[in-house]
C-alpha cells in the first residue's frame, strides 16, 4: 500500500470581494510509496503549494481523497490531527520557522518533548540528527546566530526528529545560496536513502528537483506529466529542463 494516495483532488478559492473564484487544483491524482523521494514542480500559480497544504492537512479539499498511511485525511481533526502531524508528518518551509528564543537543540527537541520522550533518548536523537545534517557545532546557538543553510538543516532535523513517515518540504532551498541549497539536498537524499522518511518536496528549482526519484509537473492545477529518475542525476536534471521547456511551450 502506498504511503500517500491522492485521488481526484480539487480545490477552488473563492474571492473575498466577490471576484471570480480561482480553481487551484482540479482532478489531481498521485501516489507516493514508502521511502520514495518525490518533487512537485510547476510555474507560479500551478497549485504546488495548495497541493502541499492539502496533503499536510493545513487546508481542506473541496473534493477528492487523500489517504495518508491508509487513513482518510477527513477523519483527522482536533487532537487526533495534532498527534498525527507530530508522529507521522515532518515539515520544512522556505524560511526555517525556527523559534528564535530557543536554541537549535531546543528547537529540535520540542516535538520529541511534546511526545514525552525520555531525556536520554531525546539527547541521543538530537546528536544523531545533528551529525547526519552537519549542525552539531551550532546546537547550542540561537537561530539568529546561525547561517541560512544551518537554520534550514536545523528545521529539517526538527522535522525528522519524530521519525515521520513523510517529510513535506515547501521550497526548502528557496532562501538559500546555491552551495547551501546543494548541501541541504545532499542531506535530504542521504536521509531518504537511509530509509528515514519518504519526502514530498515542492520546488521550482530544477536542480533541487533532480535529487528526487520522481518529479510530478503541475500546470493550471492539473498534473501535466511525471518523470522518474533512472540513472545519473545529471541526466535527470537535463530531462527535468526538457519537460519544463515543453510545459512552457504548451502553455503559450
Amino acid at each position: 500500500m502506498p504511503l500517500l494516495t491522492v485521488r481526484d483532488l480539487a480545490k477552488t478559492y473563492s474571492s473575498r470581494f466577490g471576484g471570480p473564484a480561482c480553481r487551484a487544483l482540479s482532478g489531481v491524482s498521485l501516489e507516493l510509496d514508502r521511502g520514495e523521494f518525490m518533487a512537485v514542480m510547476g510555474p507560479s500559480g500551478s497549485g504546488k503549494t495548495t497541493l502541499l497544504n492539502l496533503i499536510a492537512l493545513i487546508d481542506r479539499q473541496d473534493s477528492g481523497d487523500i489517504l495518508l498511511d491508509g487513513r482518510d485525511s477527513r477523519e483527522l481533526r482536533g487532537d487526533a490531527l495534532s498527534d498525527f502531524r507530530r508522529k507521522r508528518l515532518g515539515f520544512v518551509f522556505q524560511d526555517a520557522s525556527l523559534i528564535d528564543t530557543m536554541t537549535v537543540a531546543e528547537n529540535i527537541a520540542l516535538p520529541l518533548a511534546l511526545d514525552r520522550m525520555p531525556k536520554a533518548e531525546i539527547a541521543g536523537r538530537i546528536d544523531d540528527l545533528a551529525s547526519a545534517l552537519g549542525i552539531a557545532e551550532v546546537l547550542g546557538k540561537y537561530p539568529c546566530e546561525t547561517s541560512g543553510g544551518q537554520r534550514q538543516r536545523a528545521a529539517a532535523a526538527r522535522a525528522l526528529a519524530c521519525r515521520p513517515s513523510l517529510l513535506l518540504a515547501d521550497e526548502p532551498t528557496g532562501a538559500l545560496d546555491s552551495k547551501s541549497g546543494r548541501d541541504l539536498m545532499e542531506r535530504f537524499a542521504s536521509l531518504n536513502e537511509a530509509g528515514q522518511a519518504a519526502i514530498l518536496m515542492v520546488t521550482h528549482d530544477p536542480f533541487a528537483a533532480s535529487w528526487a526519484r520522481k518529479v510530478v509537473f503541475l500546470r493550471d492545477g492539473q498534473v501535466f506529466t511525471e518523470i522518474r529518475r533512472g540513472g545519473e542525476r545529471k541526466a535527470f536534471f537535463d530531462r527535468i529542463l526538457e519537460v519544463q521547456a515543453a510545459m512552457e511551450g504548451a502553455g503559450r
Binding site: D59, R85, R86, S97, I99, M102, A109, A113, R116
Partner: protein, 634 residues
C-alpha cells in the same frame, strides 16, 4: 529536556518583552493597594470628622486603577501576541495541540500577573511609610495618616491582576484559535501593507478635534458643563481618526516630495507610513492616556492652589454663626468670653431668606442682604464695597454660577412668602464677606429694594449672621468642644473648615498625582514595547539599507526620526487636549490655570525623552549588536 523546561526557558528569554507590563502593573498594584488602604484608614476617616467623602474618593481611585490595570492586560496581550503568531504556528506545526498552546500563553500571562502582584504589593509595603508621609503632608494633618496594608488592599490588587490575567488569556484564546500553520507559508510581512492616504477621514478627524477645542474654549457656565461628554467623545474619536488617517496622509505626501528630503527622513517617512495601520490605535491611545494623566494631575494641582485661596476668601472669619435670633449669638459670645476672648464684639449682619428664580428657570434658595449690610461686613475685613447697586439690580455670589459667570445681565425674580420683586443681575463676581455657608447663594440688593422686600416678606424671614475675628487660636481650641456641643445651630469655626478643605484637596492631589504617574508610565511602556517590537522587524530592512550604502549615521538618524514621531506626536496631542480640557474646566468651575499644564508637561516631556532614548538604544542594539543578523559594517 521536556516540554515544560524547553518552553519555560524560551519564555524566560522572552520575559524582557513582558517586563514593561510587569513594571506598569506593579505600579498600578501599588496604587490600588495604597488607595484601598487609605479608604480603610481610620485616621483618614477621623481627619474629616468621620465623613465618607474621602473614603469614597480613595475607593473610587482604587476601582479606576484596578479597571485600568485589568484592561491594560488585554491591550498588552494584543500587541505581545501579534508578533508571536508565527511562533504559535510553529508550535502547531510540530504537533502541539491548540489548547496546550493556549495554556502556555496563559501561563506566561499568569506568571506576569503574579509577578506584578508580588512586586507591586511588596513595593507598596516597603513604601507605605513614604506614602503615609506624603499623604499626611498633602492633607496637612498633624498626626501621620496610617495606611493599613491589609487583606482588603491585597484582595483588590489581586482581583485587578486576576482580571488582567483573564483578559490577556481571553486575547490569547482568540489569537490561538485564529492561527494556522498556513501562516508560516505566508511572508512574515504580507499582512502589513501601507495604508492608503485618506484625506477626507483625516480632515474629519481634524474637524472633530478643532470643534471640540472650540467648544472647550468658548462655551461657558452651564453650556460648558453639558458639553463635557460630547467634547470628550469628539476629542477621542478625532484623535483616533487623526492617527489612523492623517498620519498616513501626511507621510504619503511627504514621500511624494522626494526633492530636498534626506535619505534618513525618507526612510523614516516610509516606515511611519508602513506602520501607521498597525500602530495608529496605540499612538492614539497613548495620546488619550497622556491627556487624561496631565488633566487629572493639572486639575488637582490647580484645585489645590486655586481652591485653597478661594476657600480662605470664602471663610474669612475666625468664627461665624447664622442665627435665627439674638439669643444664639449671646450664647456663643459667652462661651468665647469664658475662654478668655477679649477681642472686638461680634459684627452682626442682617439678611432675609428668600427664593431666587432666574429667567432661565433655575431656582435657588438665597440669602438676601442690603447693600449697606454687605458694605458693613466688608468694612469689617477692611475692604470697600465697590460695585454700585441701583434700584432693580442685584449682585449675586459666585455660587450662583449661572448668574455670576454670565457676561450679560440676567433677569430674575426674588420671592419670599407673598413678597416678589423683579430684578436684573449686575454681571460681576461677588465675593461675599461672610462665609460660603452663611452667604451661600447670596443676593445683594440696593437698600431701598431690600427694605421694601423685607417689609413685604415679613419679619419672620429675617435672620442674622454674627462673625468673630481676631480670636486667639488657644481660645478657639479651648472653645471648640463647647461650640460644637451647640448642635445644629453650632457656629462655623474657620480652622475646621480649612482642615476639612485641606484634607479633601490633599487627598485629591495624592490620588491625582499617583493616577497620572500610573497612566503616564503605562502609556510610555506601551510605546517602548511597540517601538522595540518594530525594531526587530526592521533589522532586515536596515541591512538592505546598508547594502545600498547607507551609513550608520543615516540609520541612526532614521531611527531617531521615527521615534520622535512615535513619542512626540502622542505627547503633543495629549498636552494639547490637556490644555483644552483645563480651559474648559476654568470656564465651568473657575479654578484652572495654565500653571499646572506647564508643570505636568515639564514632567512628561523628560519622561518621554528618557523612554525615547531607551527605545533608540534598544533599536540600535537590535540593528547592530549582540549576535543579531545585521553586523556593523561602518
Amino acid at each position: 529536556m521536556n516540554t515544560v523546561s524547553i518552553l519555560a526557558s524560551s519564555a524566560r528569554r522572552r520575559f524582557g518583552d513582558a517586563l514593561l507590563l510587569v513594571v506598569s502593573t506593579a505600579i498600578s498594584v501599588m496604587a490600588i493597594a495604597t488607595f484601598t488602604a487609605a479608604a480603610a484608614s481610620p485616621t483618614v476617616a477621623a481627619a474629616t470628622g468621620a465623613r465618607q467623602s474621602l473614603a469614597s474618593l480613595f475607593a473610587s481611585a482604587s476601582f479606576v486603577t484596578a479597571v485600568f490595570a485589568a484592561l491594560s492586560g488585554w491591550f498588552f496581550a494584543e500587541h505581545y501576541l501579534s508578533r508571536r503568531k508565527r511562533e504559535v504556528a510553529t508550535w502547531l506545526l510540530v504537533g502541539m495541540r491548540k489548547r496546550v498552546a493556549f495554556g502556555l500563553l496563559s501561563a506566561e500571562f499568569g506568571a506576569a500577573a503574579l509577578l506584578s502582584f508580588l512586586a507591586g504589593a511588596g513595593s507598596g509595603l516597603l513604601l507605605s511609610r513614604f506614602f503615609s508621609l506624603a499623604l499626611t503632608a498633602m492633607m496637612k494633618e498633624r498626626s501621620p495618616i496610617a495606611l493599613p496594608f491589609g487583606g482588603a488592599s491585597f484582595a483588590v490588587a489581586g482581583l485587578a491582576c486576576l482580571f488582567q490575567f483573564l483578559l490577556a488569556s481571553a486575547r490569547s484564546a482568540i489569537t490561538v484559535s485564529r492561527v494556522s500553520i498556513a501562516d508560516l507559508m505566508r511572508s512574515e510581512r504580507e499582512a502589513e501593507r501601507p495604508p492608503r492616504a485618506r484625506p477626507f477621514l483625516a480632515a474629519a478627524g481634524l474637524v472633530l478635534i478643532l470643534a471640540s477645542y472650540s467648544v472647550a474654549v468658548f462655551a461657558e457656565g452651564s453650556l460648558a458643563a453639558v458639553s463635557i461628554l460630547p467634547v470628550l467623545v469628539c476629542t477621542i474619536a478625532g484623535t483616533f481618526l487623526c492617527f489612523g488617517a492623517l498620519v498616513p496622509t501626511l507621510a504619503s505626501s511627504f514621500r511624494k516630495r522626494k526633492a530636498g528630503v534626506g535619505a534618513a527622513a525618507l526612510v523614516a517617512a516610509a516606515q511611519i507610513s508602513f506602520r501607521s495601520r498597525r500602530n495608529a490605535r496605540l499612538l492614539a491611545l497613548t495620546a488619550v492616556l497622556v491627556a487624561v494623566a496631565a488633566t487629572a494631575c493639572g486639575t488637582v494641582i490647580a484645585l489645590n492652589v486655586s481652591d485653597s485661596m478661594v476657600t480662605r476668601r470664602y471663610c474669612p472669619h475666625d468664627i461665624e454663626l447664622a442665627a435665627p435670633g439674638p439669643g444664639e449669638i449671646s450664647r456663643v459670645d459667652a462661651i468665647l468670653s469664658d475662654r478668655g476672648h477679649r477681642g472686638p464684639a461680634p459684627l452682626v449682619v442682617e439678611f432675609s431668606k428668600a427664593e431666587l428664580t432666574l429667567e432661565n428657570g433655575e431656582t435657588f434658595a438665597a440669602s438676601v442682604f442690603s447693600r449697606s449690610a454687605w458694605a458693613k461686613a466688608l468694612a469689617g475685613l477692611g475692604e470697600a464695597a465697590a460695585a454700585q447697586i441701583g434700584a432693580g439690580k442685584f449682585l449675586a455670589s459666585m455660587a450662583l454660577s449661572g448668574v455670576s459667570d454670565s457676561r450679560r445681565p440676567l433677569g430674575a425674580t426674588l420671592r419670599s412668602g407673598d413678597a416678589s420683586i423683579a430684578i436684573t443681575s449686575i454681571p460681576a463676581k461677588c465675593l461675599p464677606p461672610l462665609s460660603f455657608r452663611t452667604a451661600i447663594n447670596a443676593v445683594i440688593l440696593a437698600d431701598s429694594d431690600y427694605e421694601a422686600f423685607k417689609a413685604a416678606a415679613g419679619e419672620g424671614r429675617v435672620e442674622s449672621a454674627a462673625v468673630w475675628d481676631d480670636v486667639d487660636p488657644d481660645v478657639v481650641r479651648a472653645s471648640h468642644a463647647a461650640l460644637s456641643a451647640l448642635g445644629p445651630g453650632a457656629p462655623m469655626i474657620r480652622v475646621d473648615v480649612l482642615a476639612e478643605h485641606d484634607s479633601l484637596n490633599g487627598a485629591m492631589l495624592f490620588v491625582g498625582i499617583f493616577l497620572a504617574a500610573v497612566f503616564l508610565l503605562c502609556a510610555i511602556s506601551l510605546l517602548v514595547f511597540r517601538v522595540t517590537e518594530d525594531s526587530r522587524d526592521d533589522a532586515d530592512r536596515y541591512r538592505i539599507l546598508q547594502d545600498l550604502g547607507a551609513t550608520r549615521q543615516v540609520v541612526r538618524r532614521s531611527i531617531v526620526l521615527q521615534d520622535l514621531f512615535s513619542f512626540g506626536l502622542p505627547l503633543v496631542f495629549g498636552l494639547m487636549h490637556c490644555t483644552a480640557a483645563l480651559v474648559m474646566m476654568r470656564n465651568i468651575a473657575g479654578y484652572a490655570n495654565a500653571g499646572p499644564t506647564m508643570i505636568v508637561g515639564a514632567a512628561a516631556v523628560p519622561a518621554f525623552l528618557a523612554a525615547m532614548a531607551l527605545a533608540v538604544d534598544r533599536q540600535l542594539d537590535y540593528s547592530y549588536g549582540r549576535g543579531r543578523p545585521l553586523q556593523e559594517r561602518n
